[in-house]
């Protein structure tokens, strides 16, 4: 079971340890980013056993010692002793070099599988642990194909009753999922999805197992090329309601399971295979409801560590599901106006720590305000006085201000009343500032929004001039970017100059 506490403990080490840790983390982060660019972003998880420290001493055995251990296991007949033998082997496998040695032994996997299905529960457990270590191997030779003899059994055991054992099987399977399309096809054929469904049902009160199911499912559906068979199978399986039940706001489950289930829902929604089905099963309702709860928590200041790991997938899921149908049809699931408040609260709360999350939050607002029947949401933003909070995000880059400008542009497009309200909320002076920014895209969007405002009512053009906006537009006319030059000229000619004389002595 993943606990952020465990990691925090690690990070709490003083001095150079911490620096080194941070350095490693930065390097690792760079690797992850590279991997993502190649669509190769994959992670595996290793369950640690109770009798091990996280960074306990690993005695790296010599290769003949490993072989020896394995031979003892292979030839041993005494079941009681066998458990100890397997345990010794499992401990040896903590060291990755032992993996290569083991798989070179003839029938090594078969022997492990035999023990996996053997009569002795403890032996099963130890055998499963051995396979789990192998599934997490850094060596490419120890790939899932090699372990494929084990998968039918692992899948079968998912319907078993023993939580610890089930958890092991789940993580082992979860580690195997991302390896290749062949492996996934095989797992699909062997019935992994119904098994997962069964498992989460049986063990629904056990948070460790629920988290493991979530993880394994997320590994299965976040891989490449899964939209044709795997995702439809998941959608049809009855897993969705079970995932949603984990998302209950005051879940006693703690963050781990909810996080995994939320990421599953995100992967399902962004694949856009059948988002209508997702919505019909209540996904939008549950996700928005949880977002509101998280918004309330954020407002109260009780931001749990790691909460952004939950907010992120929920935002993405909601954002994408908003396109699943006309907004009017979705409105019953979006009826809590506190959702809008939460979507404005997240950027404020996370701007400095996770600006990308702030941006995604505003993206959801864009999807709420850009549809044909978004007027009710746009009106709500004014009614709840949320627009100033958005305007305050305009100084920030990372794509945040562009997304905010989109939202403001969406609102302005609704009509004259909306434009007047935007001006009342202080948009014009804010645009005078964004028009001076270095980013051409920001200036372009600002000109668009400004244009819409001025086109809706001449009084707004006058107001803009009062805000000393004219010289700003005139300055833009000398930019070397044609897009903004032309827009600025257009605004001056069509909306500003006809309304008021170009007063060059205004600066006096």
């Amino acid at each position: 079971m993943w606990r952020l506490n465990a990691v925090r403990h690690k990070a709490g080490r003083q001095g150079s340890d911490l620096e080194e840790f941070k350095f490693k983390r930065r390097e690792h982060e760079k690797e992850l980013r590279r991997a993502r660019k190649d669509s190769q972003l994959v992670s595996k998880r290793l369950l640690l056993n109770d009798d091990e420290e996280e960074d306990g001493t690993m005695d790296t055995l010599a290769s003949d010692q490993v072989v020896e251990l394995f031979n003892i296991v292979r030839h041993g007949r005494d079941l009681v002793k066998k458990e100890a033998d397997l345990r010794a082997l499992r401990k040896a496998l903590r060291s990755p070099s032992a993996h290569l040695i083991l798989i070179k032994q003839p029938n090594s996997i078969a022997i492990l599988v035999t023990n996996l299905c053997g009569p002795n529960p403890q032996c099963r457990l130890e055998a499963a642990r051995c396979l789990h270590e192998l599934s997490h191997s850094p060596h490419s030779e120890v790939d899932s194909l090699r372990l494929r003899q084990a998968t039918p059994y692992l899948i079968t055991f998912l319907s078993g009753q023993s939580p610890k054992f089930t958890e092991l099987c789940l993580y082992t399977l979860g580690n195997m999922c991302p390896d290749s399309e062949n492996v996934r096809d095989m797992l699909l054929a062997q019935g992994i999805i119904p098994a997962l469904n069964n498992c989460i049902q049986i063990h629904r009160t056990n948070l460790a197992v629920v988290e493991a199911v979530g993880f394994t499912l997320s590994q299965l559906i976040s891989a490449n090329y899964v939209t044709e068979r795997i995702i439809p199978a998941v959608l049809a399986s009855g897993l969705i309601p079970r995932l949603l039940s984990v998302l209950t706001p005051d879940s006693q489950f703690g963050l781990g399971p909810v996080i995994e289930c939320a990421w599953c829902l995100h992967y399902l929604a962004c694949s856009n295979v059948d988002n209508g089905a997702l919505v019909a099963q209540g996904t939008l309702l549950h996700c928005t409801s949880l977002l509101v709860t998280l918004g309330v928590a954020v407002a109260k200041g009780s931001i749990e560590e790691g909460i952004e790991l939950l907010i992120w997938p929920l935002l993405r899921c909601v954002g994408n599901l908003l396109l699943s149908g006309p907004l009017g049809a979705l409105q019953p699931q979006l009826n809590d106006s506190r959702l809008l408040a939460a979507l404005c609260a997240f950027p404020q709360a996370f701007l400095q720590t996770h600006p990308a999350l702030a941006r995604e939050s505003v993206w959801v607002l864009n999807n709420l305000t850009a549809a044909a029947d978004s007027s009710v949401f746009c009106s709500a933003l004014f009614y709840l006085n949320l627009v100033p909070a958005l305007i305050q995000l305009l100084p920030f880059s990372h794509g945040i201000n562009i997304m905010v400008l989109r939202v403001l542009g969406n609102i302005a497009h609704q009509g004259r009343e909306y434009c007047l309200h935007l001006a009342q909320a202080g948009l014009l002076p804010a645009l005078c500032a964004t028009l001076k920014m270095a980013d051409t895209e920001v200036v372009t969007f600002s000109l668009e929004v400004l244009g819409q405002l001025m086109a809706s009512d001449p009084q707004l053009a006058e107001e803009f001039v009062k805000q000393s906006g004219l010289p700003v537009l005139e300055a833009i006319q000398y930019s070397n970017q044609e897009t903004i030059r032309l827009r600025a000229t257009h605004l001056l000619e069509h909306h500003l100059l006809p309304h008021c004389p170009v007063d060059t002595s205004a600066s006096q």
Binding site: L4, K24, C270, Q331
Partner: protein
């Protein structure tokens, strides 16, 4: 961090009022005839093109990158307290749009100061930037109006520089005396010296020598007419005799990492009011008259460059 209004909204206990369908809807639509005129340019492109659009993002979209990385760091047990290493939100920079200027600033105030100093009240004939519209008028009148010198032979044409004074004088020297005696300007105030616009290279070297913090894209100003920026440049060249060869990359913002513009404060007696910006070309040199009204409107992309403030005295050029 959160605004009180938001907090109140989210922690309100009365949920009945918070239903979306209970919120009054503002009227949609525009007044007839007030819609956007989608202006078409010669190539038929619409000028203003924003349309509200819902955006679908698939799992590999770049917008999702940071969140994915965060998740995988968590999966791999590498999450730490996020505050240490994550990217923080950056405030946007501001850029001066005057073509060729391209300077970037980190705050609006810096940008506005830059713009007001260098690009306002610029004489389009000689690219000098004056501190105020009035001084610009006086400059244009005295330097670019051929009628002026004819009239000045017969009447008092040289206005006092101090606003509100209204006195006029027959010669520059008389004005200068007036300004010193009556308005208590220092006698070594930069009157009537012909400013020379240095070659950028020399200017840059001098600047570096003097240790001024002026942007390299601006020439160091030499003592010139009234209201010139001072950085004591010893030699003065003839106005407009220098061939201003542009140093490559001089106006490339990337090569000018300095974000703020500071005026030299070397000279402590004369007010610092004007700035000379090195012109990039020799184009705006003509001495012939221009229509009055065109002075304020820059003619070419050289607007704002070579802005020199102040007056050029007769002295040197005679």
């Amino acid at each position: 961090m959160l605004q009180p209004g938001l907090i109140q909204l989210l922690t309100a206990s009365d949920l009945a009022d918070l239903r979306i369908d209970a919120i009054p809807k503002l009227q949609v639509g525009f007044r007839p005839g007030s819609f956007f005129s989608s202006f078409r340019s010669q190539d038929g492109e619409a000028k203003l093109t924003f349309i509200p659009q819902q955006i679908l993002l698939n799992k590999d979209h770049e917008l999702f990158e940071d969140g994915d990385i965060h998740r995988h760091l968590y999966l791999q047990n590498l999450s730490t307290c996020p505050a240490h290493d994550s990217p923080t939100a950056r405030q946007c920079e501001f850029r001066c749009y005057i073509s060729g200027c391209s300077q970037v600033f980190s705050t609006v105030e810096d940008y506005e100061h830059h713009y007001n100093t260098l690009h306002r009240h610029v004489c389009s004939s000689c690219q000098r930037s004056l501190p105020s519209a009035r001084l610009l008028d006086i400059h244009i009148q005295e330097w670019h109006d051929s009628l002026f010198s004819i009239l000045a032979e017969r009447q008092d044409m040289y206005q006092c520089l101090v606003e509100g004074c209204g006195s006029k004088f027959r010669t520059r020297e008389q004005r200068k005396d007036h300004v010193i005696k009556i308005h208590k300007y220092p006698s070594d105030f930069m009157f009537d010296k012909v400013k020379r616009i240095k070659n950028i290279k020399i200017a840059k070297n001098n600047m570096l020598q003097k240790g001024t913090s002026m942007e390299v894209s601006m020439s160091v100003s030499e003592p010139e007419g009234v209201c010139e920026v001072l950085s004591d440049q010893p030699e003065e060249e003839e106005y407009m005799e220098i061939n201003h060869s542009l140093e490559p990359g001089i106006l490339d913002p990337a090569s000018n990492p300095i974000n703020t513009v500071e005026l030299s404060t070397d000279h402590d007696t004369a007010p610092i009011l004007s700035v000379t910006i090195q012109p990039t070309t020799n184009q705006q040199r003509p001495q012939h008259n221009r229509e009055r009204h065109s002075y304020r409107v820059p003619r070419t992309v050289c607007f704002g460059q070579g802005s020199v403030q102040g007056f050029r005295g007769h002295g040197r050029r005679i």
